[in-house]
């Protein structure tokens, strides 16, 4: 029979005992009002501890901490992130410029979805970017992604060949969108490749965005997919984000960009392909 002592009771109160021991404790507690009181008070103490230090979970993170992960706006005066080798920083700067150029083009060609000023850029060293992705994908998970309005990050998978997304990745030049209406006619998806590049494994990859809208609002999915030798596109990462109906500032859009930017910097072999190189690949079926 299990011995009731502080160690057993605290583990019981935290649900840390194996099933068999927990059942034994449960039985023993029936005849032991003092032990029951201890369990109750251990639980109360845990509740108090959680409540006493809860403020940071309710507050905005102070700017000075966010700044640690943020790249200064001015390129010249940019100090290195601690310990980040210079080469990695310049790689990030390049990508940022390319993205900025594409954003400009995009805003002149299509109806703007985002305010141009909402893009918040983060300069994480290369390894940091990988850590972020693996941290999310490695199961510590969405439930711990506690920042308010943090974008959801969804899992990898093969994109069905019959899908409009597959068609867009296979044949649409960057920044030209395909449209799709759901079977019930209620949701409209706009699918738009954003850029193309070669990854560290010499695969062709594309970043893309799907904007879905229906009467209740819209959301963005921004993802990266890579093409295998068999012609299948595999999603590497995707970040989903609600677009506020007001069209106002969305703090999550900065996170989406930082997550993807970090990810791209981690897997891109060189700079993104220019329009000509991309056009050649689209014509040749990615050969």
């Amino acid at each position: 029979m299990v011995k009731l002592n502080d160690e057993t009771l605290i583990a019981y109160s935290d649900g840390e005992l194996d099933e068999k021991t927990a059942a034994e404790v449960e039985a023993a507690l029936k005849d032991d009002p003092v032990a029951r009181e201890i369990v109750h008070k251990f639980q109360e103490a845990a509740r108090l501890a959680g409540e006493a230090f809860d403020d940071p979970m309710q507050e905005e993170v102070p700017e000075r901490l966010l700044k640690l992960f943020e790249e200064p706006r001015s390129e010249e005066a940019a100090p290195e992130a601690p310990g980040a080798p210079a080469a990695e920083s310049s790689n990030i700067a390049d990508l940022s410029q390319i993205r900025a150029a594409r954003e400009t083009k995009r805003h002149t060609n299509v109806t703007a979805i985002e305010e141009p000023g909402t893009v918040r850029r983060f300069a994480l060293p290369l390894a940091a970017s990988l850590a972020l992705i693996i941290g999310i994908g490695g199961g510590f998970g969405l439930s711990n992604f506690t920042a308010p309005s943090a974008p959801d990050v969804i899992a990898a998978g093969t994109i069905p060949q019959s899908s409009v997304l597959h068609a867009a990745l296979e044949r649409s030049p960057s920044l030209q969108s395909l449209e799709e209406v759901s079977g019930d006619g209620l949701t409209k998806n706009q699918i738009e490749p954003l850029l193309s590049f070669v990854d560290n494994n010499d695969r062709h990859c594309r970043e893309y965005r799907i904007t879905s809208s229906n009467v209740s609002g819209s959301q963005d999915l921004t993802g990266v997919a890579c093409r295998g030798d068999d012609g299948a596109w595999t999603q590497q990462i995707a970040v989903v984000q609600e677009i506020p109906a007001s069209g106002g500032y969305s703090p999550a859009s900065g996170q989406t960009d930082s997550v993807l930017e970090s990810f791209l910097n981690g897997i891109m072999k060189d700079e993104p392909l220019d329009d000509e190189a991309e056009a050649r690949l689209l014509d040749s079926g990615w050969q």
Binding site: I38, F42, A49, G50, A52, E59, L65, A128, A147
Partner: protein
């Protein structure tokens, strides 16, 4: 890492007893983590690694100070009195006493309490972060929670302390 900042701040708040000191600690830990990302092992939890860094820095700071020259001043009720009902005020005072009690705990008990009862880690995870056996986690946690409960309700005459099962325990 940005997404886990609220949790890092809560952890640091509980360790240091103040959000300002806590934020200093979070900042130091993030800087160290960013500069040592090559030491993080892929496939292990990034948050556990961050907590480990944070507690290491904290312990170092504690050792550097050797003697903690300060006692947390148990502030008077003055600043919370007002339109609040008596019960709400009592609840706030209780939480304030809890914070003081956590402050006064021995360092190793506070770490365990913070990881398990505040951040919600399993005993096993806490044991890995602190590099001690699970049995040590259990006994430290029991001592910490006893102490905390007793301090939290010390002024409420009609609430009895946690009883003991063994004559010379606690």
């Amino acid at each position: 890492m940005v997404a886990m900042l609220p949790r890092l701040r809560r952890f640091a708040y509980a360790l240091t007893g103040s959000t300002d000191l806590g934020d200093d600690l979070v900042q130091a830990a993030c800087e160290r983590a960013l500069s040592r990302l090559d030491q993080w092992q892929k496939g292990t939890r990034l948050d556990s690694w961050m907590f480990r860094i944070m507690q290491t820095i904290w312990i170092d700071q504690m050792r550097a100070k050797k003697v903690r020259g300060h006692k947390i001043d148990l502030e008077t009720a003055g600043d919370v009195a007002g339109e609040d009902g008596e019960r709400a005020m009592e609840a706030r005072l209780t939480l304030k006493r809890v914070r003081s009690a956590v402050e006064e705990l021995p360092e190793e008990q506070r770490l365990v309490l913070t990881l398990v009862s505040i951040d919600g880690r399993s005993y096993k995870e806490a044991a890995q972060i602190l590099d001690v056996p699970v049995g040590t986690i259990t006994s430290r946690l029991a001592r910490a929670r006893r102490r905390l409960y007793e301090v939290a309700y010390e002024t409420t005459a009609n609430i009895a302390p946690i009883p003991s099962l063994e004559p010379n325990n606690g």
